[in-house]
């Protein structure tokens, strides 16, 4: 579905990624893991085509991205739903209106259909209090609304930036299960940037970034066998024990 081939990226003279290559298949759940400053968020920006690689190629559905073709890029972006780290919900409108928003903006569908779709998506993520304003919600609830909004247009790919950050362990577990059930029921490809080692239990594949390079690309079950010191620290550190 998305393929990176020998991608180098940079901010000015500062190199962020060196020779990154990987492929994400349809309906996979892939986690992007790495320390602070490893370039995880930049990788997401590359996937959203908000940043152009310095060199290398990015493919979407086997078609090479042409950065000069803005319309085509926007058409691809319309197939991607994003849950931002801090949710980015509009506080001045209700939760259901937040989920209606992309449908009303991006399609010519009626307000009634947009509302019903929003109700379906909010129920799908287990959120009932549809008339509540985001300011009245807990962190976990806000995440659910943000997820429902990302799902509003039924994207092929769901990108989640630190989806469980700021959630208590129980809410984080619930959210992880929700992501898995959405993938299972809708067949959505999920890419999640995470620091949360516990979230790796739901993923099919892990991409680990370290020192500008992709140092691991494989199933989470293979992580323990890796000798790389950062991976060892990651899974054997205090926070890594929950993965045992």
């Amino acid at each position: 579905m998305i393929e990176f081939r020998n991608v180098y990226s940079s901010y000015g003279n500062y190199i962020v990624h060196e020779d990154i290559s990987f492929k994400i298949e349809k309906s996979e759940i892939v986690a992007i893991v790495g320390g602070s400053g490893a370039g995880k968020s930049t990788l997401v920006k590359l996937m959203l085509f908000l940043l152009k690689p310095k060199s290398g190629e990015i493919f979407f559905d086997s078609q090479k991205i042409d950065y000069n073709d803005e319309k085509k890029i926007q058409r691809i972006r319309d197939r991607i739903g994003v849950v931002f780290q801090f949710n980015a919900l509009f506080n001045s409108i209700t939760s259901v209106e937040n989920v209606m928003y992309p449908v009303l903006k991006k399609t010519s569908l009626s307000k009634d259909i947009a509302f019903k779709n929003a109700v379906v998506k909010l129920n799908m993520v287990g959120f009932k209090n549809i008339w509540a304003y985001p300011g009245e919600l807990s962190g976990g609830m806000k995440k659910k609304v943000a997820l429902a909004r990302a799902l509003a247009l039924e994207p092929d790919i769901l990108i989640l930036d630190e989806p469980t950050s700021g959630l208590d362990p129980i809410s984080a577990d619930e959210f992880d299960s929700l992501i898995k059930s959405i993938r299972d029921s809708l067949g959505t490809t999920v890419v999640m940037v995470t620091h949360d080692i516990a979230s790796l239990k739901i993923v099919d594949r892990v991409l680990i970034l370290y020192d500008k390079k992709l140092i691991f690309n494989g199933s989470p079950s293979l992580l323990k066998a890796q000798n790389h010191p950062w991976i060892q620290s990651f899974i054997n550190g205090q926070r890594g024990h929950c993965y045992d």
Binding site: V120, L122, A132
Partner: protein
Amino acid sequence: MDLTKETIGGKVDISILIKEHTIDIKDVDKIDTFGAIFILELLEKYKDKKLVGKKEHIEFIQKVKELLKYNDEKTKKDTNLSVSLTFLEYIGILVYHGFKNIKDIEFESFLKEIENSGVGSLFILAVLSFLVGIVIAYQSARELISFGANIFIVNLIGISAFRELGPLITGIILAGRVSSGYTANIGIRNVYEELDAVEVMGISPYVVFGLPRIITLTFITPLLVLFSSNVMVLGGAIIAKTYLDIPFNMFFDRLREVVGFNQVFVGLIKAPFFGAYIGLVGTYFGFYSGKKPEDVTLNVMKSVVISISGIIVIDALFSIIFAKIGI
């Protein structure tokens, strides 16, 4: 045929789907939530017809139907509970906290405010006051020439600048620049829980973020008014020289004669009230702006509008008082 968000927006010919006794979606290849909602609406409209189609599509529509249930009980809009104190109560709280925590007031914060609100306002104040002086002098000069009363430009500019326009322009600029700044600064601190953090440390946020600003503005506004009035007169003097051939020395000699202490006093006595009012309004809307960024935006707007309106009202009140006592 697909029933998706791309196809149902008025593009589906429902006559293909609606048969005599059924709604037939056997020929549908792909259906998404929007398509399922569309079919459910058709079923609602044609209650007597039965849905026929591929098993997985019917199951999907059934699933969407189950997910369409919602609680219609609307919650009240999130009212801004934080803005629960009246302006007068706020003044009372400031006085109380000021006396109670007087030791927490830092001298440096006054200096910082003199720099931010006072020195920082000088440039825009100078430019606008100068231009107002030029405009008034130029407009008046044309009339004065026709009456041969050129020298009275000094009276007109001098009295209006020191008595009315200097204080008013200063008040309006401070209301726009400083009041909004106070509201935004304190409001954002509120959003990021800095006010709570300060309070937890046992320090009154009113004393740290409110009082020094209000006190400083009260004391520096008269100086800014004096500055504005003088720059306005300078603008008038330049027009008087270039347009009415009144030399600078004659202009300023005459100015000393016609603008007495009374005129300057009238302008200056209003200034601390303007300053205090702007400071109070700016900080009030900052402290009680709520915890959401958009509340801060709204309160910045309120703060500017109420400050400017208030300045004009206070000015009018002073005019009435001065008229009564004959100054």
